[in-house]
Subunit: 297 residues, 2 copies
């Protein structure tokens, strides 16, 4: 399938609005604004329908999950079709009783579901207790074909893994997209906060460089208290950004403002950059076997 | 083998002094200065004995190569022993007639050769015609045990490959070290120059993050004209740096000044950082098989 030379993209950075209905209303508003600005692709943040509920482990939270297709995908599909947008959403998927995933859904601009990606790397750390909720993805690292190119969607924790980005690139991804939900523990000092936010950006910009691909990362903002009495809650650090294939930042949102971040991505630049930095040419696949090991001992 | 909690390291950034003897004199001076500052480990830049000769392809340049052990390793070993330093050097290795490598040699502080690493990823681009000179390494990605910990030495072009850093980390590396020789084409505009230098730093800082390890990169400075009439030469961009295991820059040299860049590296920080960011825990080794493919088509 052909792809355009340039794509106008938008990232919708926002805080939790309380309910799925309220969040989808805000998203609808953002999509309409994006379409008014001639945007072609919109990336939403991770689990955009509600609070980041993984701060505690509670079976009642599974009520948030829904099937795919389901009510949220129907609403988003209708908007994609009406507005002629490719939309990348992030949902809590109920696949079967007791089987749930953290799933990104890509809608084609005709409203069809172009494909989905189930988060492969699942974190489990204080405040981010995802292993309780999400079964690790079983769809592998497979870009999704759309009219705007092959979209390599990865989700949050995946962003720390060069392996994930590389596998998407090797499968022909034209863009890497990261819906994410990451923030600070307020008890940490400023220096640690700076290190964490910079490492997060840097890690993803490095995926752009290593693979000669544009990278889009959309994070939420706002403070969300923990349901646990002794936990600090999370101050989501926003900073949604778009980087080009040399890791250069094309657009970046603030740490705390609701933002529709619009940027033009030049897909032809990847062709040029990969000619100048032909990293794919020289991979030592004869010497990489131990990448499939947990540890080399 | 035990390792210290903290290591005082130094990177010797310099320009080509013309001859191997002159370069080794300058290195000797730097090592003495480092020892006077209580430094324990010194990283030298790539192919520190002379000009970056890979700007053209000429059989006479093979005369620069020497065996390992050989005259240069003898001189460096004597200095390592006298000054009690671990030294990481980078030499043009003649292994046999018609068989050459770009080889890093690690000297223990008693002057013994702790180990060597033969550059695995070999570039070949205008100005960097290394495939003519260097057979790709056949020692794999294996850290070298020293009294200061397990040194993961990688060389220049390797720095663009997350696979290389990961394999060193999985084999128990405590530090990642990159002797390098990279610079600008003066014909490029300022924006491109900024993107290139930043991408270079970013890529290596991202290896620190992905693997929870300190990273040291030592680059040369100065302009070296090309022997080819129609080639622009290389303006080496220096910027040697030391990063901690969150990718934070601990020390950075300028783009053009001869520098002995000293920094303290806290090896215990890796233990702490990896507990907070346990990326190694969650690698999807069941889904990484295609990393061993050239491309997934």
């Amino acid at each position: 399938m052909s792809k355009p030379d340039k794509v106008l993209v938008a990232l919708l950075q926002n805080q939790n609005q309380g309910s799925a209905a309220a969040n989808l209303d805000t998203i609808e508003q953002g999509l309409r604004e994006a379409a008014a600005q001639q945007v072609q692709l919109v990336l939403l943040q991770e689990l955009h329908n509600g609070a980041y509920f993984c701060q505690h482990e509670a079976v009642a939270e599974f009520d948030r999950a829904e099937s795919i297709p389901g009510p949220s995908t129907e609403r988003l599909a209708a908007l994609a079709r009406e507005l002629g947008l490719v939309v990348v959403s992030s949902l809590f998927e109920r696949r079967a009783a007791g089987l749930y995933h953290n799933t990104a859904v890509v809608f084609e601009r005709d409203g069809s579901i172009a494909g989905k990606y189930r988060k492969m790397h699942i974190p489990d750390d204080p405040g981010f207790l995802e292993k309780f909720y999400f079964t690790p993805g079983d769809l592998g690292f497979q870009p999704i074909q759309t009219s705007l190119g092959r979209i390599g969607v990865l989700v949050c924790w995946d962003q720390w893994y060069p392996e994930a980005a590389r596998l998407m690139a090797l499968a022909g991804a034209d863009l890497l997209l990261y819906p994410t939900a990451i923030g600070w523990d307020r008890r940490d000092g400023d220096a640690e906060k700076v290190r964490q936010r910079e490492a997060w950006m840097l890690s993803q910009r490095a995926h752009a460089i290593a693979n000669g691909l544009p990278v889009l990362a959309c994070n939420r903002i706002g403070f969300e208290a923990s349901p646990l009495a002794d936990a600090p809650g999370i101050e989501f650090w926003g900073s949604s950004f778009v980087a080009g294939p040399q890791g250069e930042v094309l657009a970046e949102a603030s740490t705390d403002a609701a933002t529709l971040l619009v940027a033009e991505v030049d897909l032809q630049r990847s062709e040029e950059v990969r000619r100048v930095w032909p990293f794919l040419r020289d991979r030592r696949i004869d010497a990489y076997a131990d990448l499939l090991k947990r540890y080399r001992d």
